[in-house]
């Protein structure tokens, strides 16, 4: 490589000194630094001294910086080894929070300067921004009396509520409309596909101000920017603020950038390089310019009581005058309604233009005459009503209404009683008593005889109850007198007695009537059961002890009365198998079952899925089983054909019915309902008295 040849540097001995060999001169300028007591002078410092602490003696740069794990020791982990749990002891008598040592740890211990500054800031009380000081400054408040208080920029509760519900400013109220988006203001409507749901447009609110100009409804002046000077002219003080939000610019509160957060926002960026956004430490705000700036004085946050109130002194006689004039203001001399007070003066509206009355054309006279007021005293409505002499009927006649149909009571009562009423009450204008007879249907016989209390009971039931009593048991076993009365009542109803059932001594008529009702009910209940029902139940019988037998024989066990046995059972026991032992019932099999057995299903098989109940089962808990009823019916109906059920009799071609055909349902007719009544014999055999009563 080519290297530039350089002259070899002279050795230090060859170096010339500037001073030419004189005593070296060292030029000193400035004052010497004081010797350092503290600070780093390069001496050896042990590790424990190398810790950094702040002014409060707390360690900075906790373990995370030095590679340890005990981050958070400074912030209450407890020790550099980590969190050592403190034994927490607290009891009812010895509460932990009430201990003396409770104050050893305060939150302030763990807060650094930023936190402390924030806490300090929090402590400052601030009123809500919108709070206009009570009664201050006429400069702020508009020139009207009371409504300055309401004229705040704060949202009302209603606005807050609907904002919570999803409304946003400048939206309208109501259902969302489906329209195309108004992206450009030129009104181009895009295709249907771009239709979305939008909030309705906000309505133009009509402000209720007096139109002093003749520019038409809803006109807004062109200059929208500078509104302040227009305010006083165009609007009266009567504007309700929440209607007209678009006009008034809201004074935004420029919040000072939080002193505790990093960085500067875009808005607050002044471009100055002196401010380091990431500087740790409190933001010290020194004035960077010389010269005191005038700070606008904010209205004091604290209300100065009575600052805006100008006390008006009212001399005493004036106040008396005002109250005395109250009575004069009432037209009819009456006090005003509750909650109202008379106005002392007419409402003053300075802006109201006063128009002169129209000029009357000359020579015009009014067609209406004026009644002199003095002739008639003023009459309130109430008084006018009282002075009228009309009653309902005469008013109706005046109005020309037709008489209402209907009779009054006076039609029916006799003349004498009407006169009696008239003398007693003093009213002579009662209609005449006509003494008509009652309308038809009204029974003349209003005498409530005792017979009316005796309840009605069917003769058969009474007879049956009597018969039952004769053979078996009568109710009221414990009260023989009552039983005899019961029997008498039954006999009366059965026809064998004619006399009124007697009333026990000491019983009132009402009680007696109630007892008779009870008897009637008991007779209905305790009448003997017939036929099939009887076979279901047995009554207990007490064995009649022979006279003279000793009572020791009485045992609680009584021989159960032998159940009336099934005739089929009896026949079987006797060995007479045959028609007596055989009975038949129908059952419905399912389609699938028949399919499995390769059998044509009967036509009335329900088209039901796999599982099915075999036979008809009555779901109600009848004392008489449905199948038993069927049995009886079958026995009657199929007397000639024991093998084929009734429905088979009708269709003779039941067998070759194809499997897929199921019963046709005809909505129009229903044979079950339309068919004629079954012969009486059927009914009698089912419901009537059988020969197999017990």
């Amino acid at each position: 490589m080519f290297k530039r040849q350089r002259a070899a540097s002279p050795s230090s001995a060859q170096k010339r000194s500037r001073t030419g060999g004189a005593a070296p001169q060292v030029i000193k300028l400035g004052t010497e630094l004081p010797p350092e007591d503290e600070g780093d002078d390069g001496a050896f410092v042990p590790v424990w001294k190398q810790t950094v602490t702040d002014e409060r003696g707390r360690r900075r740069l906790h373990g995370a910086f030095t590679g340890g794990f005990s981050a958070g020791y400074f912030n209450t982990v407890g020790s550099k080894e980590g969190w050592t749990p403190k034994a927490f002891v607290s009891s009812r008598s010895n509460r932990n929070k009430d201990q003396a040592k409770a104050g050893t740890q305060r939150p302030e211990d763990f807060m650094d300067d930023e936190d402390l500054a924030e806490a300090a800031e929090m402590r400052q009380l601030e009123t809500a921004q919108s709070f206009a000081a009570i009664g201050t400054g006429a400069a702020d408040a508009p020139n009207d009396d009371f409504f300055g208080l309401f004229k705040t920029e704060e949202d009302t509760i209603g606005v807050k509520i609907i904002q919570k519900m999803g409304w946003r400013r400048d939206q309208g109220i109501g259902r969302k409309v489906r329209r195309a988006a108004h992206l450009d203001d030129n009104g181009l409507n895009s295709s249907i596909k771009d239709r979305h749901l939008f909030a309705p447009t906000d309505t133009q609110s009509m402000s209720t101000f007096r139109q002093d100009q003749r520019k038409g409804l809803g006109f807004q002046s062109e200059s929208r920017l500078s509104r302040s000077e227009d305010d006083t002219e165009e609007k009266s003080s009567f504007v309700l603020p929440f209607l007209d939000r678009t006009d008034k610019p809201r004074p935004t509160k420029k919040s000072a950038p939080k002193q505790t957060s990093f960085g500067v926002g875009i808005l607050n960026d002044t471009g100055s390089d002196d401010e380091d956004p990431y500087e740790l430490g409190p933001k010290i705000k020194f004035n960077k310019t010389i010269g005191k700036e005038k700070k606008a004085k904010k209205p004091s946050k604290f209300a100065k009581a009575g600052a805006g109130v100008s006390h008006v002194v009212i001399p005493k006689k004036d106040s008396m005058r005002t109250t005395a004039s109250l009575s004069k203001l009432s037209l009819d001399g009456k006090a005003p309604l509750r909650g109202f007070a008379f106005a002392t003066e007419v409402m003053f509206q300075p802006n109201r233009p006063k128009f002169p009355p129209p000029s009357i054309p000359p020579g015009w006279t009014s067609a209406k005459g004026v009644t002199p007021e003095s002739q008639r005293g003023f009459q309130t409505v109430g008084d006018a009503a009282k002075s009228s002499a009309l009653d309902a009927k005469s008013r109706a006649a005046l109005l020309g209404e037709s008489q209402l149909p209907g009779k009054s009571i006076f039609n029916f009562i006799s003349k004498e009683s009407r006169d009696r009423i008239a003398t007693v009450t003093g009213k002579v204008n009662l209609p005449q008593g006509l003494g008509e007879s009652g309308p038809e249907g009204h029974s003349q016989d209003t005498h409530k005889t005792l017979w009316s209390f005796v309840p009605v009971l069917d003769k058969e039931i009474a007879a049956a109850a009597l018969a039952k009593g004769a053979t078996g048991w009568m109710p009221y076993a414990e009260d023989s007198a009552k039983r005899t009365r019961y029997v008498e009542f039954l006999e009366l109803r059965a026809g064998s007695r004619q006399a009124l059932p007697e009333r026990a001594s000491g019983m009132s008529v009402a009680d007696w009537a109630k007892e008779l009702e009870e008897f009637a009910h008991a007779a209905r209940v305790f009448k003997p059961t017939t036929g099939f029902m009887a076979s279901r139940f047995t009554s207990s019988t007490t064995s009649q002890s022979a006279p003279g037998s000793d009572r020791d024989d009485d045992t609680l066990l009584r021989a159960a009365k032998v159940k009336p046995t099934d005739p089929a059972e009896e026949a079987a026991k006797m060995g007479m198998y045959g028609p007596m032992t055989r009975s038949q019932i129908t059952f419905h099999s399912t389609r699938l079952l028949c399919k499995r057995f390769n059998v044509a299903p009967p036509p009335d098989v329900p088209f039901a899925p796999e599982t099915g109940k075999g036979t008809e089962k009555s779901t109600t808990e009848d004392a008489v089983n449905q199948t038993a009823m069927d049995e009886m019916k079958k026995a009657v109906l199929t007397r000639g054909l024991p093998d084929r059920p009734a429905w088979m009799n009708q269709t003779n071609v039941a067998v070759p019915v194809p499997e897929t055909a199921h019963a046709m349902v005809d909505v129009e007719k229903n044979d079950a309902l339309d068919k004629g009544r079954a012969p009486d014999e059927v009914f009698r055999s089912i419901f009537g008295d059988d020969d197999d009563s017990d």
Binding site: Y577, P579, Q584, F587, S589, L592, C594, G614
Partner: protein, 329 residues
């Protein structure tokens, strides 16, 4: 006319069960095999030809053992194709087994009490009819996978002890003393009152008669058409008052064979009704003459008898766990 001859010689003895053998079933077709179900919860398949009565081998003739029941096995039935059989038991279930794999194909639950009997029925053995202590008779479908029965007959007011299927009719016998015959073609159920609890029912080959055992020590032959009694079979010493004992028709429906409470097996002539033979199951011999009065133990009951359809052979199952096969000798 007395039957030509009646098999009276024990030709095989099937052992191995440790409890009362409740049911026997011959296989279909050539009836080579016998299935036995016992209260020891197992079902065993035997080849009686391989189990002569004199053999001392512990389970001679045993081909297969089927265990799945949780409680005693109460009944067995083999289908005509000989590849499946149904077993029912005290665990309220009805099992459909595959003979080859010895596994259950289907398990039907739904009964509320022990299932006394399960038989194949329907065309092609497509259903299984089961009768249970809970008083219901349920028909289960073999072909589909329904877990519910096709139909349930619950007219019986007490336990249904036996069921038999003949063509499209299901005949059930119940402890309430009734025999109910459900005719699926007609949709009609004929109820015959017997008077005594009926423990077994069987239908003759012609289908016009049915044989009933009842707990009054009588076996009855009834006419199915009108419910009349055709013949009643009793025997001096024939006791059947407490236990469920089965009876069967045999020898082409010419004899009636029934077990009894005390270990005896009786055979009657069907038409005449007189006792032809008496056997003592435990001794494996025919007993002639007067039967001594003994105290029969529980184990002496002969609960099941089965007649082979093809040969003159029949089997009796006893409370001692053995099955004796009787042949012509």
């Amino acid at each position: 006319m007395p039957p030509l001859s009646f098999p009276t010689t024990p030709i095989a003895r099937l052992t191995g069960h440790s409890g009362i053998v409740h049911s026997i079933a011959y296989s279909s077709g050539s009836s080579q095999y016998i299935l036995t179900g016992s209260s020891d919860r197992t079902i065993r398949l035997f080849n009686p030809g391989k189990a002569p009565p004199t053999s001392t081998a512990p389970s001679a003739g045993l081909i297969n053992k089927y265990s799945a029941h949780g409680y005693e096995v109460l009944s067995l039935d083999v289908n005509t194709a000989n590849d499946r059989f149904v077993s029912t038991g005290g665990d309220k279930t009805v099992f459909l087994w595959d003979v080859q794999t010895a596994q259950t194909i289907k398990r039907w639950t739904g009964h509320a009490g022990r299932v006394n009997r399960g038989v194949f029925g329907g065309e092609d053995d497509s259903v299984v009819v089961s009768a249970s202590y809970d008083g219901t008779v349920k028909v289960w479908d073999v072909k589909s996978s329904h877990y519910k029965p096709l139909v349930t007959f619950d007219e019986a007011r007490d336990s249904v002890t036996d069921v038999c299927v003949f063509d499209a009719e299901i005949v059930t016998a119940s402890v309430d003393g009734r025999v109910r015959s459900y005719d699926l073609r007609m949709g009609l159920c004929s109820v015959d009152a017997i008077g005594y609890p009926v423990t077994s029912v069987g239908v003759s080959k012609k289908g016009t008669e049915c044989l009933l055992s009842s707990l009054d020590s009588t076996v009855r032959l009834m006419d199915r058409a009108d419910g009349t009694l055709l013949k009643a079979y009793r025997g001096e010493g024939f006791v059947n008052k407490e236990l469920k004992v089965r009876s069967t028709l045999g020898l082409n429906d010419s004899v009636v064979v029934s077990g009894s409470d005390d270990g005896m097996v009786y055979a009657w002539d069907l038409l005449e009704g007189d006792v032809l033979h008496r056997f003592r199951h435990s001794e494996m011999r025919e007993v002639t003459g007067k039967v001594g009065v003994e105290k029969p133990g529980k184990k002496d009951v002969v609960g099941a008898v089965a007649f082979c359809k093809t040969r003159k052979e029949w089997a009796s199952a006893g409370g001692d766990g053995n099955v004796v096969v009787w042949g012509m000798g």
